[in-house]
Amino acid sequence: MERIIMAHGSGGRLSHQLVQEIFQKHLSNSYLNQMNDATWLPGSEKIAITTDSFVVSPLFFRGGDIGKLAVCGTINDLAVSGAQPRYLTLAVILEEGLLLADLEKIVQSIAATSQMAGVPIVCGDTKVVERGSADKIFINTTGIGALKECAVGPQYIRPGDYVLISGTIGDHGVAILADREGLEFETPVTSDCAPLNHLIDEFYMPGIHCMRDPTRGGVGTTLNELAKQGRVSIILEEEKLPLHPSVAGACGMLGLEPLYLANEGKVLVIVAPEAVDEVLTRMRNHPLGQEAAIIGRVEAADPGLVLLKTPLGGKRIVGMLEGEHLPRIC
C-alpha cells in the first residue's frame, strides 16, 4: 500500500506527481489548469469571502468524509451569508504515512461535492509534514462568493419573525460520534453533510432576515449567538424540532442534548411572518429540505435568551454551553 512520504512535499518529482495524479486528475477545470502562482478570475460583483480549516476524526464517516466536509463547510458559510458561492481554494496538509488510496478517495469526494454544488476549486496547495505533526490530513478551504440582492444578518432579525430549520438536527454529531467510537445503534445515523447553496437559491427571497448553518455547537449555540447579536429572544418548541428517531434514541441513551449537536447540512432561517409560508414550501420542495419545519419565534422580551417550550408548557432556558453539558442535579 502506497503512503505519503516526506518526499511528496519536497517540491520535486514526487510532489509534482502527487498534484498531477491525484488533485489535478479529479479537480481539473479551466481556472485550476492555469497553474499560475495566482489564478485570474472573472467577475465584478460585491464579493464575500470565508475560510475554514477542517480536522476530523475519523476521516471517513457514514454520510461523508473530511473532503466533502471541507467543501460543504465553506460553501455553506458563503451561502448562509447571502452570497452565491463562486470559487473555492484547497490547501491540504498531509501527514507522512497517509495512504495514497485514502487521499485519492478524499480528493474524489471533494471533486464530486464541488461538482454537485457547481463551485469549482480554482487553486490549491499541498504540504507534507512528519509523522505526528498532523493527524493524517488537514484541509483548509477558502471560498469566494458574489453577494445577492437582499442583505441578511443578525441585525435584521425582528420580534415576530419565525425560525425555520431545513431538516433534522444533530445527525452529523451523532454520526461522527458513532463512527469514531464504534457505537452500534439499531438504525445507524448518517451525517447530513451537504452543500446548501442550491437549497438556499430555491427559497432565498425578500423577508428572509438571517441565515446560519448550525455546525459546531448545534442549533442551541447558534441561536444563542443570534439572540445576542440581534438583541432578541428566541422561543423554540420542543415538539417541533425535527429529530431522526435514531438520533433521539442515541441522545436518550448517552444523555446528549440534540440542540447542541453539530449539523453539516442544515440551515437555520429567520424570516418575517409574511414570507414564512412561502419559504417553508419552497424549502420542502428541495430534496435537502423535505423535513424543514418552523421551530420557533423571535420575541422582544429578555434579549439574548433562547428558550425551549416543553410539551408540558413550561419553558427551559437553552444556555450557551461552556464546554460540555455538565451535570447540575444536586
Binding site: L177, E181, G182, L183, E184, F185, E186, G252, M253, L254, G255, L256, L305, L307, T310, L312, G313, G314, K315, R316, I317, G319, M320, L321, E322, G323, E324, H325, L326, P327, R328, I329, C330
Partner: protein, 771 residues
C-alpha cells in the same frame, strides 16, 4: 425624678403589635411622649417619673412574635407632653427595620372566627396584631397598610375603631379587616364562572379545588380519595413526588403519625410549616399510598389561615394541599394566572381579592437528631435574617445555586435569604428569581454592589451574575459555600472540618464533586478527603436512570470475575442498553467523573430495585431511606428495641477503605458495592441491605473524620444528603460515641437552599482582603 428618654428599638418591631404594646405600657405607667415606626425601627420619646422601669419593662415584656435585636436609650430634653401618642410613620430613607414573616392565625382569632356572635364569624381574613399576613403582602417599608396589598381596602368604621383603640387586639394591625370592608372570597367553576349558593365543602367532595391562600395557590382534594389524588397527579404531570397534607387538628395527626413533642411544637408554631412525619401503621388503610408512593413519611401542616380552617367545615380530617405550580414552574399566586394555568387541573377555584406581593411556598421541615432540618425555607421564616459576614463593608448578593434556588442579600451585619424559588433552568422560575430579587431588595433595603456565584459554568445564576453590573464578581466553589453556610450560622470563623454530602457541585479539578471532606473557613479551604471518582454516564440524563449509574459503578468497581456473577442484577437494562453503556463507559462518551454522594445513594437504590426511574429530584435516595427505615422499625417492633446501636453494632457490615493519594485521602467503596451485590444475590431483603448501607456510609464518614482529625475538634455536617434522617441520626450517634462535636445548619437548609448564605460570607472575605 422626672426624666426624658429617647429610645430606639430594632428587630421585628413592626406589624407585631409593638406600638400598641408601648402605648399600653406607657399608659399603665403614666409615661408621656410618643412612639412611631420608622424605616429603622421603633422610636420612642418617654418622659415621666418611672422611665427607667419603663425601659426595663419595655425590653422584657414584648408581644409574642416581636423580637428586639438592638436597643438604644439616651437622655433627652424634657418636653412636657400631656399624653402618650402613636405618631404617623415617617420614612426617613434609612433602612434597617426587620419585616415579620407571615404568622399563622392565633387562637383568639380562631375563636372570633367560630363565634356566632362575633362580627368576624366565618370571615376568612380575620387577623390581629398577633397573627396574619405580613411579608407576603408588603411592598415596601415601613410596614404600613398603605404599603401593603391591603391598601385597596379602606377600613370601615368598626375596623377603624379597633385599629385606633390601644386597648384592642387589633390596635394598629395593618391587615385588619371585616366582612364590611375587607377582602372577600369567591367560588368559581373551572371556566372561571361564579358559583352562587354552594358551600366550600360541597365542592371539595371528589373534586380538585384550587385555593388561594397566604403565599400562593394550593391544589386541594380529599386526602382519602385515591381517585381524586390520582387525577391530581395525572393532571399535574407530577410523577411520584409526594403531596403535602393539611390536617384538621393535632388530634388527627397524633392518631396517624408518630409525633414527638418537638414535632408538635413545630406544627403549632406561628410559622405553621409542613413537618415531615412518620406514618403510623394505622394510617395505612386511612391515608392512601398514592399521596406519597414508596415513602414512609408524609409532610403535614395545620390550617394557618381562617380560610384553611373553613375548608375543614366539611367531613375531612386530612386534605391534600400541594403548591399550585405546573411541572418545573413557579408557584401560582395571581387570580388570572391561576384561572388560565390551572383550568385543566382544578374543577373549582376558591379565590380572593387580596393580592399577594411576595409569592411564598410552604416551608418544609423535619426533626432530625432532635434538631430542625429545613428542606424548604419560605413562608413563616422569610425574611428573618441570619448574622451577616463579620466586618462587612460592601452590600453583597449571593445568587445561590441552580436547583432549589434561594438567593441572599447581606449588608451591615445581616444576611437575608430569600424564600425558596425553584429550579433555575425553568425560565419562569428564573423570571421569578429576578422578580423577587427586585422586590426583596425593597423589603430588606439592600442594594448589592458585589455578587457571589457558584463556580459551575452552566448555572443560570452564574450567567446572571456574570452579566450583571456588579463592582466585583466572586466565584465560589459549591461545597465550600455549603461548609461556610453552616459555620456562618454558628458564628465560627476558625478553619473547621466539614463533611459535605451532596448531589453534585463543580469541583476545582473540573470534575463533579459531592462527597467531600473540606477543612476551611470563609478565607479558603483544603480538600482533605473525598469519595473515589466514579463514572457518571450521561450526566443529568443518567441521574434520572439510576440503574445506569449502578451499572457504571458496579462495572468500574468490581473485578471482571465478580462482575460476571452479577448479571441477573441488570435485567432492568435491555441488552442493547447494556451494550451502549459498555461502549459509553469504555470510550468515555459523555461520562463525567464524580465523587457525588447523592449518586451513590441513587445507584444503591436502583440496584436494590427500589427506584430505577427518577421522576423528582432525590426520589431514589428518599425511597432508599424509606425502605431502610421501614425495615429497621419493623425489626424494632419485633425486638422491642429502639436503639439502632444494639441492632447495627459498632462495625459496619459493608466496610469502607481508604487510599492516600497526592491530593489527600480517597474513600474507596469497592467493598461496599461488592458486598451489597453479594448480599443481594444471596437473597437478602433490600430493606436489610438498605439499612446496613446507610450504617456503612455513616461509619465511613465518622471513620474518615477520625483519620483526618485526631483532636476531636468539631465537624460540620452539610449538603443535601444530610436531609436524610436515617443517615444523619446514625452519624450523630457515632459522633457521640467518639466525642466528636457536630455542627449542623440551624435555620437554613443544609442543601442548596443554604448555599447563597455561604457565598456571601466567602465573597465578603475576598472583597475585604482585596480592598
Amino acid at each position: 425624678m422626672k426624666r426624658a428618654y429617647s429610645i430606639h428599638l430594632n428587630g421585628i418591631v413592626q406589624g407585631v403589635g409593638f406600638r400598641p404594646y408601648v402605648y399600653r405600657l406607657a399608659l399603665e405607667m403614666g409615661i408621656k411622649g410618643w412612639v412611631n415606626n420608622s424605616s429603622h425601627g421603633v422610636g420612642i420619646h418617654a418622659e415621666g417619673l418611672q422611665v427607667d422601669i419603663f425601659y426595663t419593662r419595655l425590653l422584657s415584656e414584648t408581644p409574642p412574635v416581636a423580637k428586639i435585636t438592638q436597643a438604644e436609650c439616651e437622655e433627652a430634653v424634657f418636653c412636657y407632653y400631656e399624653t402618650f401618642e402613636i405618631l404617623q410613620s415617617e420614612d426617613d430613607g434609612l433602612a434597617d427595620v426587620l419585616i415579620s414573616p407571615d404568622i399563622a392565625t392565633c387562637a383568639d382569632c380562631f375563636s372570633d372566627l367560630r363565634d356566632l356572635k362575633n362580627r368576624r364569624h366565618n370571615y376568612p381574613f380575620t387577623n390581629c396584631t398577633n397573627c396574619g399576613p405580613r411579608y407576603t403582602i408588603i411592598e415596601d417599608v415601613p410596614y404600613d397598610r398603605i404599603q401593603t396589598t391591603m391598601k385597596d381596602f379602606p377600613m370601615c368604621e368598626d375596623c377603624a375603631h379597633e385599629y385606633e383603640n390601644p386597648a384592642d387586639r387589633r390596635f394598629h394591625a395593618q391587615p385588619v379587616a371585616c366582612t364590611q370592608c375587607g377582602p372577600t372570597i369567591q367560588l368559581l367553576d373551572a371556566q372561571g364562572g361564579a358559583l352562587e349558593g354552594l358551600g366550600i365543602m360541597q365542592i371539595v367532595q371528589g373534586a380538585i379545588l384550587a385555593v388561594k391562600g397566604l403565599g400562593g395557590f394550593h391544589l386541594v382534594c380529599d386526602a382519602r380519595d385515591s381517585a381524586a389524588i390520582q387525577h391530581l397527579r395525572q393532571r399535574k404531570e407530577r410523577g411520584a413526588k409526594p403531596f403535602a397534607l393539611m390536617a384538621r387538628n393535632l388530634e388527627v395527626i397524633r392518631k396517624f403519625f408518630r409525633l414527638s413533642a418537638q414535632e408538635e411544637a413545630l406544627l403549632r408554631s406561628p410559622a405553621a410549616p409542613i413537618v415531615i412525619l412518620e406514618r403510623k401503621k394505622e394510617s395505612k388503610d386511612y391515608l392512601p399510598q398514592e399521596i406519597a408512593p414508596g415513602i414512609h413519611t408524609l409532610g403535614v401542616m395545620l390550617p394557618y389561615t381562617p380560610l384553611h380552617a373553613m375548608l375543614f367545615d366539611g367531613p375531612y380530617d386530612f386534605l391534600v394541599m400541594t403548591s399550585a405550580n405546573l411541572s418545573g414552574r413557579p408557584l401560582i399566586y395571581r387570580n388570572e394566572e391561576a384561572l388560565s394555568e390551572l383550568g385543566g387541573i382544578a374543577d373549582y377555584f376558591l379565590i380572593h381579592n387580596r393580592d399577594i406581593y411576595h409569592p411564598c411556598d410552604d416551608s418544609v421541615l423535619q426533626v432530625i437528631g432532635e434538631e430542625t432540618v429545613w428542606h424548604r425555607r419560605a413562608r413563616g421564616y422569610v425574611p428573618l435574617p441570619q448574622a451577616g459576614p463579620k466586618g462587612q463593608l460592601t452590600p453583597i448578593l449571593g445568587v445561590g445555586g441552580e436547583l432549589k434556588n434561594a438567593f441572599c442579600l447581606a449588608a451591615e451585619g445581616r444576611a437575608f435569604t430569600s424564600q425558596y424559588i425553584g429550579d433555575m433552568e425553568g425560565y419562569e422560575n428564573f423570571q421569578r428569581f429576578r422578580q423577587e430579587f427586585t422586590s426583596f431588595q425593597k423589603v430588606v433595603k439592600i442594594v448589592p454592589e458585589v455578587v457571589a456565584f457558584d463556580a459551575h459554568p452552566n448555572y443560570q445564576t452564574t450567567r446572571f451574575a456574570q452579566e450583571g453590573p456588579w463592582l466585583s464578581k466572586i466565584k465560589v466553589q459549591h461545597h465550600h459555600a455549603h461548609l461556610v453556610s453552616v459555620l456562618g450560622e454558628h458564628g465560627i470563623t476558625a478553619p473547621t472540618l466539614g463533611v459535605v454530602c451532596d448531589g453534585t457541585g463543580w469541583g476545582e479539578d473540573q470534575t463533579i464533586w459531592g462527597f467531600e471532606f473540606l477543612k476551611g473557613s470563609s478565607a479558603g479551604y483544603e480538600r482533605l478527603a473525598h469519595l473515589e471518582y466514579l463514572p457518571l454516564p450521561g450526566g443529568d440524563a443518567g441521574a434520572k436512570h439510576p440503574l445506569r449509574i449502578a451499572y457504571a459503578y458496579g462495572k468500574t468497581l468490581l473485578s471482571p470475575h465478580e462482575w460476571a456473577k452479577t448479571q441477573e442484577l441488570w435485567e432492568g437494562l435491555a441488552a442493547s442498553e447494556q451494550k451502549i453503556l459498555d461502549q459509553q463507559l469504555e470510550k468515555r462518551i459523555n461520562v463525567f467523573k464524580t465523587s457525588s454522594c447523592g449518586r451513590l445513594f441513587d445507584a444503591v437504590s436502583a440496584v436494590l430495585g427500589i427506584c430505577t426511574k427518577v421522576t423528582y429530584e432525590g426520589q431514589a435516595a428518599i425511597e432508599l431511606e424509606s425502605k431502610a427505615t421501614t425495615w429497621l422499625h419493623n425489626v424494632w417492633d419485633i425486638s422491642g428495641s429502639g436503639a439502632s446501636e444494639e441492632l447495627l453494632g459498632l462495625s459496619p457490615r459493608y466496610p469502607m477503605e481508604w487510599d492516600e493519594d497526592e491530593e489527600g485521602l480517597v474513600l474507596r467503596i469497592k467493598g461496599i458495592f461488592a458486598r451489597i451485590m453479594q448480599d443481594l444475590l444471596e437473597g437478602k431483603e433490600n430493606g436489610f441491605i438498605a439499612t446496613y448501607f446507610h450504617d456503612s456510609i455513616a461509619h465511613g464518614i465518622v471513620q474518615t473524620v477520625l483519620r483526618l482529625q485526631a483532636d476531636q475538634g468539631p465537624v460540620a455536617l452539610t449538603g443535601g444528603v444530610f436531609q436524610n434522617k436515617l443517615l444523619t441520626e446514625r452519624v450523630l450517634e457515632l459522633c457521640k460515641i467518639h466525642d466528636i462535636p457536630v455542627l449542623r445548619a440551624k435555620e437554613l437548609p443544609p442543601g442548596d437552599g443554604g448555599l447563597a448564605y455561604g457565598q456571601v460570607i466567602i465573597a465578603n472575605e475576598r472583597c475585604s482582603s482585596c480592598v
